[in-house]
Amino acid sequence: MAKVNVYITLKPALLDAQGKVMQGALDNLGFEGIENVRIGKFIEIEMAESADIEASVEDMCKKLFANPNTENYRFEIIKK
């Protein structure tokens, strides 16, 4: 079995309204030096190991997990 962690992030050009609100909240809480906060998605997958696991996860990200117009993705495969 392998564990796959997929990270989906909004492209830098897009305004992340949630991130902006969190930034304001951190300011209100007195945290200093916060320059930017951006919120993304984290997906965990458990799947069988195979030689083409990387290509397979890449395909999942392209077809389903990320919208190429608005989001970037990266992932790590942890073999158990």
Binding site: L10, A17, Q18, L64, F65, N67
Partner: protein, 228 residues
């Protein structure tokens, strides 16, 4: 001519869309999302709602419904398709329309009447309008913030693919009149071939004066006008 209204799990404006074209005297049938055949239809409506609970992203799962393959073939052969609200989101996700719809900048669900300025008065979906007309039509969405990168936006503008922009009641396109942060105040667009349209506002909810407004009629009437 005959309309088809697709029902995805979670669609909730399918009956309104059906009723809208029925009241204009046209033949209409529902199309279940598992269907793989859309023959016999001249215009397909993807209605509003929350298909698949908006899980992951709006429209992200609906684009894999079996009917979407049939609709892609239908559109490739020139068939008319209009996506309203969630239907617009599904068309963008499936690549039938450029760009994407992301969360409103205010992060709130907005349900109210807005003013739309008609930008293109020759399309299959707006040919009875006049450029500059202001239509009052309701929106009801959380993810109606239209985004496209600079190049895509430029080609939409240059090719006359913008159908409607959010504006004030005089037709001025202003930041104040933009309810959700959409780039260039875009409320509705057309594909490059001109046979697929998407819009966030709900014309099917503005069909009768007795229910506040009938400005939505002209969109369905334009389709009928072009196809009859």
């Amino acid at each position: 001519m005959k309309f088809g209204v697709v029902i995805f799990p979670g669609s909730n404006c399918d009956q309104d869309a059906y009723y809208a074209v029925k009241t204009l005297g046209k033949d209409v049938d529902y199309i279940w999302h598992a269907s793989t055949d859309v023959s016999g239809f001249d215009c397909i409506i993807l209605p509003g709602g929350f298909s698949y609970g908006d899980y992951l992203r709006t429209g992200a799962v609906a684009k894999f419904s079996p009917v979407m393959n049939a609709i892609k073939d239908f559109a490739a052969k020139g068939g008319r398709v209009i996506g309203i609200c969630n239907g617009f989101q599904i068309l963008c996700e499936s690549g039938l329309l450029p760009g994407a719809l992301i969360s409103n900048t205010g992060l709130r669900f907005i349900c109210k009447h807005v003013n739309l300025r008609v930008e293109n008065d020759t399309s299959d979906f707006t040919n009875l309008c006049k450029k500059g007309d202001v239509l009052s039509i309701p929106i009801a969405h959380h993810g109606g913030n239209y985004y496209a990168d600079d190049d895509t936006l430029k080609s939409l503008e240059d090719n006359g693919q913008v159908l409607f922009r959010y504006c004030d009641d005089k037709g001025n396109v202003t930041d104040e009149a933009n309810p959700n942060g959409s780039r260039n105040n875009i409320a509705g667009i057309l594909n490059a071939a001109g046979n697929v349209a998407g819009m966030m506002p709900h014309p099917e909810r503005a069909m009768e004066k007795i229910l506040t407004d009938d400005d939505g009629k002209i969109i369905f009437e334009s389709i009928i006008n072009r196809l009859s």
